[in-house]
């Protein structure tokens, strides 16, 4: 039976997952985010850009439930959301701190399954599937210290996917990686998001990365952090590192975003 009251989200095709309504975040007297609005729909890939000090990371932490809004509210699947939830996974930039160095790759993924109360017998199979999904098949017994930065970030993504999240929040996850690894991970991430139909919220300061990944780009302005503009990215999918980046639409967006960000450069 279809619900007759309220919005029938499944029929319209844009199912709202997370919504921010006029949310402000303050640390003491400082206002970091001021009256921010945003709606994230199922399966959507949204990137956040903005000059430093515009509250990108705070925005992510607000969606994660790691900070509570002083004003306004955050709704997750229609209900107010003020604490972290297993359905919202966070990929941190500093993978070395986010992973547990005393657990091998399997053990690190297992942490999420243990926390979710998955029975021991089921874990091994799911861990193997998750590790091969992020390209870490064969590295099950490696410890984080034996892995490259790219592999460690893959491992963190695998642990986040083990949460079977509705939303994947990522805070400059590829910021510390070299260009080649970065491009490879971008393509893998797009595949993972498409296949698992999660909603991705991705903070970056790399404008081209934002265009390449996004369905929508949210541009923040600083002092205090506010949503300044939202850019729709209509580039065809699947994206390709060479041809997508050569398209006139890509170049047009690139210029627009650079012009936007340049206003805030001293």
């Amino acid at each position: 039976m279809l619900e007759t009251t309220g919005i029938d989200a499944t029929k319209s095709g844009t199912q709202e997952v997370l919504r921010v309504d006029g949310a402000s975040v303050r640390y003491g007297a400082a206002t970091i985010l001021d009256g921010v609005d945003l709606t994230l729909n199922r399966g959507e890939f949204v990137c956040v850009i903005g000059p430093s000090g515009s509250g990108k990371t705070t925005f992510l932490r607000l969606l994660a439930g790691l900070v509570a809004p002083a004003e306004g509210r955050v709704l997750f699947r229609g209900a107010e959301h003020r604490a972290p939830s297993r359905e919202i996974a966070i990929v941190f930039q500093d993978y070395a701190n986010a992973l547990l160095p005393w657990r091998d790759a399997e053990g690190n993924v297992s942490l999420a399954l243990e926390a979710a109360g998955v029975p021991r017998a089921e874990r091994a199979g799911r861990i193997r599937a998750l590790l091969s999904k992020v390209g870490l098949a064969g590295s099950e017994k490696k410890f984080p210290s034996e892995m490259s930065g790219g592999m460690q970030q893959r491992l963190q993504i695998a642990r986040c996917l083990a949460q079977e999240p509705d939303v994947l929040l990522m805070d400059e996850p590829f910021g510390a990686l070299d260009a080649m690894t970065r491009q490879k991970l971008q393509d893998e991430l797009l595949g993972i998001v498409r296949d698992s139909n999660v909603t991705a919220f991705f903070v970056t300061h790399d404008l081209e990365e934002a265009i390449y990944l996004s369905d929508r780009i949210v541009a923040l302005e600083p002092d205090p952090g506010q949503v300044c503009r939202v850019f729709d990215v209509t580039l065809p999918k699947p994206r390709n590192q060479l041809s997508t980046r050569e398209m006139p639409e890509f170049l047009r967006l690139r210029r627009e975003l650079f012009d936007f960000i340049e206003r805030f450069e001293p």
């Binding site: 994660a64 972290p84 297993r86 996974a89 966070i90 005393w102 243990e114 926390a115 949460q163």
Partner: protein
């Protein structure tokens, strides 16, 4: 190459030990000190083998080892447990930690007569004495280890929906283990001191009591035998703990 290097150093320290024992023998033979107070290694060794042959020394050694082990485990459980409580709870930090600051500087040996009043000349008295004295290094290193946990790990635990128990068992304790292992070692040293003190006070068997009785009988060789045996116990238990530490922290060397 590195193994050879370490082997050479081991041989060198062994040679030094032999030289020291030989020097001890020479000093004893020279009769600078009265033979009654200062037995050489030969007489100490005879006292040891006599004691082992009669079985009394074995029994006393086992008694001391049992008390040392139980007391140390008790201290470890209390120290790490309380440390985890204080390290993860704001409430405990405000209310419990100041009490520790009052109790900690008290010399454990000064507590012994108090314990004697309450517990009498019993094993419980010795174990309580060890637990009281040896728990501090474990408690302080656990608190220190917990306070050094990276805030990101706490956020990971929150986003995975882990409870406090799971956080302590799976993130905080393993993360603090390098610190805690140091505390366990220090605690072992303190426990060895206090087991001897406790046995000297209660005189209910054990090497401590044996040394005290030997002193009262002016039996210097027996005293030296007991002290030598305690030295060996300290050395061996510390080495065993070192092996455990190497195994538990092998992820650190990868």
């Amino acid at each position: 190459m590195r193994h050879l290097h370490r082997g050479l150093w081991f041989m060198a320290s062994l040679a030094l030990l032999v030289a020291l024992i030989w020097g001890w023998q020479v000093l004893a033979d020279a009769r600078i000190l009265p033979r009654a107070f200062f037995p050489g290694p030969d007489r100490t060794w005879r006292a040891l083998s006599r004691g082992f042959a009669s079985g009394t020394l074995v029994a006393d050694t086992l008694t001391t080892l049992r008390r040392l082990g139980l007391g140390w485990v008790l201290a470890s459980l209390l120290g790490v447990g309380l440390g985890a409580l204080v390290g993860t709870s704001k409430w405990a930090q405000d209310w419990v930690a100041p009490i520790f600051e009052v109790l900690r500087p008290l010399p454990a040996s000064a507590i012994a007569p108090v314990l004697l009043l309450f517990l009498g000349l019993t094993d419980s008295m010795i174990l309580t004495l060890i637990a009281f004295g040896a728990l501090w290094p474990m408690l302080l290193t656990t608190v220190h280890g917990f306070s050094n946990i990276h805030p990101r790990r706490k956020e990971v635990a929150r986003s995975l929906g882990m409870g406090r128990g799971a956080f302590i068992a799976k993130i905080a304790l393993p993360g603090a283990l390098p610190d805690i292992m140091g505390g366990l070692r220090l605690g072992l040293t303190v426990a060895l001191i206090l087991v001897v003190v406790g046995e000297m006070i209660t005189v209910q068997g054990g090497l401590g009591a044996r040394i005290l009785l030997a002193a009262r009988a002016f039996n210097a060789a027996e005293i030296f035998a007991g002290v030598a045996l305690l030295g060996v116990i300290g050395l061996v238990t510390n080495a065993l703990l070192g092996l455990v530490e190497t195994r538990a922290l092998r992820w650190q060397r990868r």
